[in-house]
């Protein structure tokens, strides 16, 4: 992400290394004085990701004001990400109250099987930029610029908007419409909302 490159230009290696060192100590439980390049890279990415996120408010606009020290930025970013992870979990629970996959397996698996895995395995300390899931059910927004819990949060926002839209129709109507679009829609990896929107638009035009 570009944000990460901005951060690595903003702070010197001397400012970043003590944070990575502390993280490495936690990572090895102080039982190893050295780590592999790969592990060090992961930890540095974790630090840069948190710092980059510190520069953004929760509505993803850039924070105005003076430059923070690397440590302040890291701690701010870490706390903000922690709050975002909680917010994403709340949003997920909210969606699941009246969630309907309309018999589509991909949407069902992503939401019912995948997302709980994410919340269980998300490691904000050592891998905050990892979004863990492949998110097989496609949403209508390009989320490729986001990593970690940010991607998950935006994904859930898209799912919520889709569910709200689809709930505006009778369930049988949606299922019939999807079936008439493709007999095997239940096994397909298509976005359900896009099919319904296209159909509605067509109806209005005719």
């Amino acid at each position: 992400m570009d944000r990460i490159s901005d951060v690595s230009e903003m702070y010197s290696i001397e400012e970043l290394l003590p944070i990575v060192k502390e993280l490495a100590e936690k990572y090895t439980s102080k039982e190893s004085s050295s780590i592999t390049y790969e592990a060090a890279n992961h930890l540095m990415s974790a630090v840069l990701y948190c710092i980059a996120y510190a520069g953004y408010e929760e509505d993803f606009t850039i924070v105005e004001g003076g430059k923070l020290t690397a440590r302040q930025a890291y701690e701010n970013g870490f706390l903000k990400l922690k709050r975002l992870a909680e917010k994403a979990h709340q949003l997920y629970n909210e969606i699941m109250q009246d969630f309907d996959a309309y018999e589509n397996r991909c949407l069902y698996d992503t939401m019912v099987k995948g997302l709980p895995e994410f919340f269980m395995r998300y490691d904000i300390k050592f891998k905050p930029d990892d979004y863990i899931l492949t998110l097989d059910y496609p949403v209508l927004k390009d989320l490729s610029i986001y990593d970690g819990v940010e991607r998950i949060y935006h994904y859930l926002e898209c799912i919520k908007a889709e569910q709200n839209y689809l709930h505006g129709f009778l369930r049988d109507y949606v299922i019939n419409l999807l079936t008439s679009y493709h007999k095997r829609y239940r096994d397909n990896f298509d976005n359900l909302c896009e099919i319904v929107i296209a159909h509605e638009k067509n109806c209005r035009n005719n």
């Binding site: 060192k21 190893s32 004085s33 390049y37």
Partner: protein, 173 residues
């Protein structure tokens, strides 16, 4: 600013290595500043070669404290032995995929160095630790209960470090 930071850090490392003389000289082993500088330079090479990063305390102090009372560490080859032990340490942190802590590996190394290898560093790296790390990859975790101490005794009946035999003995114990 950048150079100051680096210089202070290098001076601290040097002082820390030289501080080990307080204990090691009781066993007739001492390092000069030049020796310590050489060991630290070799450490850097080993870390690059093994693709590892070391933060804060370097392993050389612990290695010295672990090995300085071994009858197989000789004052004439003290520096070379430390450099080689350092290399072996980083190599087997990698070979064991970091499944073993620093202290556990140091204890295993010392135990095998004295009890099985009789000070032969090539035998330590080429056979004993090779077989031991292979066993770790296969799931052996017995060293966690002993902090890595007494591993050599488990295999004293072996005259040849054949991996399958090694693993069988581990499983039996």
């Amino acid at each position: 600013m950048n150079n100051d930071w680096l210089l202070i850090s290098q001076k601290n490392e040097l002082a820390n290595v030289l501080n080990t003389n307080e204990l090691s000289e009781k066993f007739g082993l001492t390092l000069t500043s030049q020796d310590a500088e050489l060991i630290l330079a070799e450490r850097k090479k080993s870390l690059i070669e093994q693709r590892r990063v070391e933060f804060g305390d370097n392993i050389i102090q612990k290695l010295i404290y672990e090995f300085c009372d071994s009858q197989y560490v000789d004052r004439n080859s003290y520096v070379e032995t430390l450099i080689r032990l350092q290399e072996i340490f980083y190599q087997f942190k990698n070979e064991t995929e970091d499944m073993i802590t620093d202290d556990e590996l140091l204890h295993v190394m010392r135990d095998m160095f004295d009890e099985v290898c009789y000070g032969d560093l090539n035998y330590l790296a080429g056979s004993c630790l090779e077989a031991f790390s292979q066993a770790i990859k296969e799931g052996y975790r017995g060293y966690q209960y002993t902090d890595g101490r007494g591993e050599a005794k488990k295999f004293s009946e072996l005259t040849d470090w054949h991996y399958q035999l090694f693993l069988e003995i581990l499983e039996r114990n």
